[in-house]
Symmetry: C2
Subunit: 352 residues, 2 copies
């Protein structure tokens, strides 16, 4: 900036003003300054600028546990769409479900003055997300409720969706239903199991411990667990899978063992309709989760009062039946249900 000022024969202050489009600058000096800027390829150092201004960087951080999960990619797209409308950018960081990394990366972000953070936190203690520890940057928690802190959050109706889909299996006459679950330490895992339990209990059906497996974290583990259930002396006639990894694993098992076991699962996924077996999925709009999370965060950023009580939103789910069973999809959650058919809320394009 000094160099620019020197070359233009003005003071640094004038350069600064030109870059602000300060009205009270002669066209002549403005031209000279811009000339010098062009000649030197100068770019204002936003970092120093924000240091001085102490405020608004026009960026928010989105912290996810697993970038390979399409759910988070769609969530990011939703958050971007909403942030974009008011000229705010989104940067995404991936924690790999590692608490240490999460803390380090969040620190990196806030110390670089992101205006706020949307985070799907790892673990079950979120006190490291306390506003006071974050340079005052507001936080919105997604996909699970905040624990140990107060913060806005956006949830998916894990409980209701699972309950509905399980009830469908029951309605079709299944009484022996297996459950392929997530680690119960994960909020979503616990909620989905709770929904499963509720549907079973409501129908007066027992939950057979032999039919319940947790901890499947990828497709091959899920397939192994499903195979084990189907190989029991008195196997379940239907399975509920707690997310799309488990659903796909279960599908592979059912398909190759030819047991004709009925299948339902949480999460819609691409090609779910093309698998050649009937499949019931609990669908929801992950883009909407991103929209809502960004909306909550932006409201906090612009809405003066920091004292506003935290808000909690829940995105509804709907049950979709693919394959043999011909029945129109019915929505299960609250007001909205964006999903209806087979081409889902995945947004993508063709470029690789």
């Amino acid at each position: 900036m000094r160099d620019v000022a020197a070359l233009a024969g003005v003071s640094a202050m004038t350069v600064s003003r030109v870059l602000h489009d300060d009205p009270k600058i002669t066209d002549e000096t403005k031209r000279r300054v811009l000339d010098a800027v062009g000649k030197l390829g100068y770019r204002r150092d936003e970092i120093a600028r924000n240091l001085r201004l102490g405020r608004s960087s026009g960026l928010i951080g989105l912290v996810v546990t697993n970038i390979a999960n399409p759910f988070y990619a769609q969530l990011a797209i939703g958050a971007e769409e909403t942030a974009e409308q008011i000229g705010v950018g989104v940067v995404l960081v991936n924690t790999g479900e590692d608490k240490q990394r999460e803390m380090r990366l969040i620190n990196d972000l806030v110390s670089r003055r992101v205006d706020g953070i949307i985070v799907a936190p790892a673990g079950d203690d979120h006190r490291h997300l306390d506003v006071n520890r974050l340079h005052g940057a507001p936080v919105v928690v997604t996909a699970r409720p905040p624990i140990g802190i107060t913060a806005d959050c956006v949830l998916v109706d894990d409980y209701g969706g699972t309950k509905d889909a399980t009830s469908r299996l029951v309605a079709r006459g299944h009484t022996k239903i297996g459950f392929l679950g997530l680690p119960p330490s994960a909020w979503t895992g616990a909620e989905r199991f709770r929904g499963f339990q509720a549907a079973m209990t409501e129908a007066g059906l027992p939950i057979d411990d032999r039919y319940v497996r947790y901890q499947q974290r990828d497709i091959s583990e899920a397939e192994k667990a499903a195979r084990a259930l189907l190989a029991l002396p008195d196997p379940p006639t239907a399975l509920f899978a707690a997310n799309n990894r488990n659903t796909i694993g279960a599908f592979r098992a059912v398909n190759s063992m030819g047991t004709g076991t009925a299948l339902a699962g949480f999460d819609d996924f691409e090609l779910a309709d093309m698998l050649g077996l009937p499949l019931t999925v609990v669908a929801y709009d992950p883009v909407e989760v991103g929209h809502l999370a960004a909306r909550l965060l932006l409201d906090r950023l612009s809405g003066g009062e920091p004292g506003t009580p935290p808000r909690r939103l829940t995105v509804p789910t709907s049950v979709i039946e693919y394959g043999a069973v011909a029945e129109p999809p019915r929505r299960a959650g609250a007001e909205q249900a964006r999903r209806g058919g087979a081409e889902p809320s995945h947004r993508d394009d063709a470029a690789t």
Copy 2:
């Protein structure tokens, strides 16, 4: 920091030193300072720190065109793995193939002192990525070669992979082969079409213009284009699809029209093996692309000489045949071929 110093009864300088683990600090004062830090929830302001230091932020930026594309998610994971090893973090931003947004976001990143950038640039003029315009932050270009600038880059063997897969179709006796392509303005689109042409020419087969469609950017467009080709009076007996969106669209068309058309496509994808029709895909390891890109960038960051000539790496592809055709996968590219079977290079976990 002032507050911490006051509470600990020392000067700001001492606090700074404690945070550096400066050896010549009494254990006693150190304890007092750390105490105060804890009590106040103080975090060092990295932004101010780097302003003073002028250097190394320990973060690199990864700029992608489409975060919903699993290719980029896998690339990000690869880049993270490599960067993580030396304690460098990765932040990801999504441009949505919008040049303006790309420029703005890159500017945001460099002005926040990311140490370097890995970018899959939109458009066919990359002069905005010139090192001089980027506070000197080095750039690595991925998925397409740099145009108008010199920079390191990592490519996929689009040409070779497509040629190999097309040759397989020819070897099976197909002479009328359709091509579902990307916009030719995209480097990958042009390269893949070139590979297709080469295989056809080598086999002495003509390329029928009626059989070639570009511009399909999502699955439904691809399906429509495929339907059009298959409805021709003298339809092709095989299709090559230029990426996984086109492959899935083509699959939907072939499946519902029951034409028995043979199918090959660029990109492997989840469930490709479960579709119930034979399918040939060009596979490669997107995680490896990320590894290499990060490696090139980190080399530039640590390797003193900025004058080193740019390097260009190409990730090999392999052809995989799913379904009816039982033939062991054969590698097509250079040294490595990570892929062999059906469970591919997608890395994910079960948590939603």
